[in-house]
Amino acid sequence: MANGSMSANPVTAEFTIPSDLSEARLLQARLEEALHASQYSEHDIFGIKLAVEEALVNAIKHGNQLDPDKRVEVSFQITYERFDIKIVDEGPGFNPDEVPDPTDPANIERPCGRGLLLIRGFMTEVNYHGRGNIVTMTKLRNGTPEE
C-alpha cells in the first residue's frame, strides 16, 4: 500500500467497514502503518490516529448507532505534505454547532463533545458536509495548530 518514499506519489486507500468498533481498530492499524511508511513523525501520527479514532467512534456509535446493517465509508490520502481523510456514515447526521461546549464548566462532566474538540485540536482543518454525516479532515505535516 505505502511505498515509503518521499516522492510525490500519494498513498490512497478506501475501506467500507461495518458499524463495529473492532473494525475501526483494524483500519487504524493499517493507517498507522501507512503513515509510518510515509515517514510521518510520531507526534503527527498520534494526532491523526486520535482524530480518526474520535471520528470513527462518532460515525459508528452516534451516526450508525452500531446498526450492523449500516456501513462506514473511509477514504484517505497521504502525501509527503499532508494527510486527508473522509469518513461517511449512514446516520441522520448532526449540526456540530449545536454540540454543547464541553469546556464550559456547566458541561465539564457531560460525556459528549470532547471528541469533536479533540478532532479540531489535533487536525489542521475539519469540515462537516451534507446533513452532518460526512466529515473531511486534513493534517499538514508538522502543521500542529497553535492552541
Binding site: 507526534h43 494526532g47 490516529k49 474520535e54 465539564i108 479533540l118 492552541e147
Partner: protein
C-alpha cells in the same frame, strides 16, 4: 489472597502510605469495555476499599481517546465528595495535549512524575 475475578486485571495498585498508586495495564485505553472495567475498578478503590488518595500513573499509557476522560472526571468528583483527592502523573506529552485541549488540565491535578505525585496530597 482474595480470589481473582475471571477477567484480566486492568490496573496494578500499590499502596504507598495512605496513597493508592495505580498503574494501567493497557498501553491503549480505547475499548469501551476496557474503559468500563477500568472505571469499575477505580470506583471500587474508593467505594469498597475506602481509598481516599489516588495517584494515577500514566507512564505505561501510549494512547488514549476521549472515551476514557469521563471515567477520570467521575473519579475526581467521587473523591472530592469524600474529601479525597485524585492526582495524575507521568502523562506522555501527546496525551497531555488531550487534557489541555479539553481543558481538563485545569480541573484535574496533573504532575510530571510519581515523586511529585506523592507530594501533591
Amino acid at each position: 489472597m482474595a480470589s481473582q475475578p475471571p477477567r484480566r486485571r486492568r490496573l496494578e495498585v500499590e499502596d504507598i502510605g495512605d496513597i493508592a498508586v495505580v498503574n494501567f495495564v493497557d498501553k491503549k485505553i480505547l475499548d469501551e469495555q476496557n474503559i468500563q472495567m477500568i472505571g469499575d475498578d477505580l470506583n471500587r478503590l474508593v467505594d469498597e476499599l475506602g481509598r481516599r488518595k489516588i495517584l494515577l500513573n500514566f507512564g505505561n499509557v501510549e494512547f488514549m481517546s476521549s472515551a476514557a476522560l469521563g471515567k477520570l472526571i467521575s473519579l475526581h468528583r467521587k473523591l472530592q465528595q469524600v474529601q479525597g483527592k485524585l492526582v495524575l502523573c507521568k502523562i506522555a506529552k501527546d496525551i497531555l495535549d488531550v487534557f489541555k485541549i479539553t481543558k481538563l488540565d485545569k480541573l484535574l491535578t496533573i504532575v510530571p512524575d510519581e515523586q511529585a505525585g506523592l507530594q501533591a496530597f
